[in-house]
């Protein structure tokens, strides 16, 4: 008997001893930032990838002719300047002559031509993206000048040229991607990690990385991220607002609106939401502040149309008092529409987004005040994509629409012939405006898009809830975390403050 206890004690001691020894045996390592990503990358080839989480990381590896800054403004990238013809049909890009791809190949006009021909399907292959099919020709005037011609003028086109330029003749993008960015791809282990390292040959001194390596761990569990932060295994992590408050230790919490639209979508085609008075009643009944405080611990911005104030230039700031919470008014509108006694509805919510589920719970309570009996229908993300997003087979739903740099990409969702108009909003005037904006001058565009926002609000296309803040927690000596109006973790700006 004594022997057994002895064995157990010995084992425990051996284990503890081992832990202590190996813990001390850490080597001198390069400057590394360890962070997390919540989902696997969809594809390492940027032309085949569409998920915003993937772009958030891989925008460090790939660059386009143009880049964007913290305000979402277009800045020179691989092209140091560009000219647009009077008629808006022809774009001439003047490329930098000092850019080298991560595989050592020099970047020239040939690679840019290859890129746009592939995307637009001008060669023998099928086009890779329908956004580029308006290109009629791509030509290299010399080694560092490229001319792109469009079928029709499109003021949103310049913004599209931030698409990754890839080296001609390189076939392994999907397994070992090669770009021109400040970081090189090192490896991707499915389910585990993505590793990037500093590109010593990077051409732009101002964006030169200050760290040597970025390790991005794929972690789907929020509490795992929190414990990894607390145990010192992560230097930065993206977390929910209420979790940030639980963190103890030396951390800095960064927070910023992320250009997302959290939407309580009402299917405009389905009864009773085909009646504008019902949709307006819903807008009067919902108290957004309660959602912001209750669900997002205050870390969210209220919205009044399908547009976040982060996009300051195009944002219409005159809509905030259109539907101030007013239960009496909501009841009146319901009565006018013939629903004095209310009705039953279901709110279909993807179950993997806890914040949307929580929001639905608040909405259910708020809607009771106008006699609407709402029930929560939790579905899997895959089911949501098919039933709600693709087939519009739903009454109401809650979803977050991720932000875009161009207002056209945000507002086109409500154009009646747009394939992903799952709200099924339909207004010929709105469609006309969206088309008109594409050929309008810059000043006109601003006015048109503001008008579009007003229309969506006045027609009560849905209930526009909030722009939930992105919360990033970093070790307090890790500085330089920068937010963009797009999902992008800029590793080149991060550095450690040494004391």
């Amino acid at each position: 008997m004594r022997k057994q206890i002895g064995i157990i004690t010995a084992l425990t001691l051996a284990m503890t001893g081992m832990m202590a020894i190996t813990a001390e045996a850490e080597e001198e390592t390069p400057v590394v930032v360890r962070m997390t990503i919540g989902a696997e990358p969809d594809n390492l080839d940027p032309w085949l990838s569409a998920a915003s989480d993937t772009e958030a990381i891989f925008h460090n590896v790939f660059e386009g002719l143009v880049l964007f800054d913290e305000d979402g403004a277009i800045i020179p990238g691989l092209a140091e300047s560009w000219d647009i013809s009077e008629d808006g049909l022809s774009y001439t890009f003047h490329l930098r002559d000092d850019v080298v791809f991560h595989n050592g190949q020099k970047m020239t006009a040939e690679d840019v031509v290859y890129t746009y021909e592939s995307l637009a399907g001008l060669g023998e292959e099928e086009p890779l993206s329908s956004k580029f099919t308006t290109i009629t020709s791509v030509e290299a005037a010399d080694d560092y000048t490229v001319e792109i011609t469009l079928e029709e003028a499109n003021s949103a086109f310049l913004q599209l040229t931030r698409v990754a330029v890839l080296p001609k003749g390189y076939e392994e993008q999907s397994s070992s991607p090669v770009g021109t960015g400040p970081f090189k791809f090192v490896r991707y282990v499915p389910g585990q990690e993505i590793v990037l390292e500093k590109n010593e040959e990077y051409y732009e001194e101002r964006r030169m990385p200050q760290i040597d390596e970025a390790d991005i761990y794929i972690m789907t569990d929020e509490s795992a991220v929190l414990s990894a932060l607390e145990s010192g295994q992560l230097d930065a992590g993206i977390v929910y607002a209420d979790s940030a408050d639980y963190l103890t230790g030396d951390f800095t919490v960064h927070s910023s609106p992320q250009n997302m639209v959290q939407l309580f979508a009402l299917n405009n085609e389905a009864e009773p939401f085909d009646d504008i008075r019902v949709r307006q009643a819903f807008n009067y009944a919902v108290d957004k502040q309660m959602i912001i405080d209750g669900v997002f611990a205050g870390y969210a911005t209220p919205l009044y149309s399908n547009f976040s104030p982060v996009m300051a230039v195009y944002y219409n700031d005159e809509l905030s008092d259109l539907y101030e919470t007013n239960i009496e008014k909501a009841k009146e509108l319901m009565a006018e529409a013939g629903y004095e006694d209310g009705f039953d509805i279901t709110i279909t919510v993807p179950s993997n987004y806890q914040k949307h589920v929580d929001t639905a719970q608040v909405l259910i309570e708020q809607l009771k005040q106008i006699n609407v009996n709402a029930t929560l229908n939790l579905v899997e993300w895959a089911t949501w994509l098919e039933d709600v997003y693709t087939n519009a087979n739903y009454q109401t739903t809650i979803v977050g629409l991720t932000g875009k740099l161009d207002p056209n990409d945000i507002l086109i969702r409500y154009k009646s012939d747009y394939s992903k108009n799952f709200v099924r909003y339909s207004n010929p005037e709105y469609d006309e405006l969206i088309d008109k904006a594409l050929t309008a001058s810059d000043e006109e565009r601003v006015e048109i898009y503001k008008e579009c926002q007003r229309m969506l609000a006045e027609d009560a296309a849905s209930v526009f809830l909030t722009d939930p803040n992105q919360i990033v927690v970093t070790r307090s000596d890790l500085k330089g975390y920068t937010f963009y109006p797009l999902n992008f973790v800029d590793f080149s700006k991060l550095y450690y403050e040494t004391e």
């Binding site: 008997m1 813990a23 890779l128 499915p190 629409l401």
Partner: protein, 318 residues
């Protein structure tokens, strides 16, 4: 010989049925894998290109037939989600889950067997009560709870061990063990508690057997009777429990692997379902069926080594 043939045929039938059922169930589930992978912002042309590369445009029967045909040449197909061969993903995850299983089994045995023997030898004594209660408690705590608890103590408070991740044995055996201790411990505390109870009951009942009385009357000491005779006869439940635990962990402990962010079979299973990755899930179900059958088979084999009477009985029945 006939015994092995029977086992093998049984395995094949199981596999055929399992694959057919998974394939069928997947057709009922809503959700297009191309949409799920690319998300809400996907371009229609991207969706089309991806669907084509995954072979989703082929009719149902053709897809199943192709899959079975490739299976016979050892090709499990390409995962939709990862764009990598399923066999490669399985091997990589198996390294993680297999390592976890080995460490868990060792810990389970190291805790469960001595504690069970001790309790069995001292049943009814006052001081055995707290230990029994302790095993009852650890039996009732789910593994993921235990995981969170262990992380809090050993990773956050003491900072002795990592709270997530996996390091390959080939990279550093010491780091390998460090990355596995907490998840293995949270899994093994529960199974060790079960083991303790089985071993204890088994020891107590063996002590009432005639051969024990004979041993005592030969003049042997209590200590020698317990370890030489009783323990050996009480090992059968140990093998059963360890076999079950092994099959269980090799099947992927989805929750524990998530809590510790271990890229094992469990993680692969949950990803394959949420992303409607049919080839990957098919590969996984094949693997799971094989694991269960093999573990059962191995347990049978070990029984006959420990207790020759079992082998004799089986031989007689054939």
């Amino acid at each position: 010989m006939g015994y092995y043939v029977k086992k093998a045929v049984g395995l094949l039938i199981t596999l055929a049925l399992v694959s057919l059922i998974t394939f069928g169930v997947f057709q009922i589930l809503p959700g297009n894998p191309a949409y799920i992978i690319l998300g809400v912002d996907a371009d229609p042309l991207q969706i089309e290109a991806l669907s084509e590369s995954m072979g989703l445009n082929l009719p149902l029967a053709a897809r199943y037939f192709n899959w079975v045909r490739d299976l016979f040449v050892g090709d499990l197909g390409m995962s939709y989600r990862y764009q990598q061969p399923v066999s490669q993903l399985l091997t990589a995850s198996l390294e993680v889950t297999g390592s976890l299983a080995v460490v868990t089994i060792i810990l389970t045995a190291a805790i469960g067997i001595p504690a069970g023997i001790w309790l069995g030898g001292h049943s009814g004594k006052k001081y055995s009560v707290p230990l029994s209660m302790l095993s009852q408690v650890s039996l009732s705590i789910p593994a993921f709870c235990m995981g969170v608890f262990l992380i809090h103590i050993f990773a956050i408070r003491l900072k002795w061990l990592p709270s997530f991740g996996f390091v390959a044995w080939s990279e550093s055996p010491a780091q390998w063990l460090r990355s596995l201790i907490l998840p293995a411990l949270s899994l093994s505390l529960g199974s060790a508690a079960v083991l303790i109870r089985y071993v204890k009951v088994s020891i107590v009942s063996q002590q009432k057997q005639d051969y024990v009385r004979t041993a005592y009357s030969k003049g042997l000491r209590r200590h020698r009777v317990l370890y030489r005779h009783v323990v050996r006869n009480s090992l059968i439940p140990v093998i059963t429990i360890l076999g079950m635990t092994m099959a269980d962990i090799l099947g992927g402990s989805i929750i524990v692997e998530n809590v510790f962010a271990l890229p094992g079979i469990g993680r692969l299973i949950s990803v394959s379902i949420t992303s409607r990755d049919l080839p990957l899930l098919q590969g996984l179900t094949m693997y799971l069926a094989v694991i269960v059958v093999i573990c059962n088979f191995a347990v049978d084999m070990i029984y006959s080594v420990i207790d020759p009477r079992i082998r004799l009985k089986k031989g007689g029945a054939e």
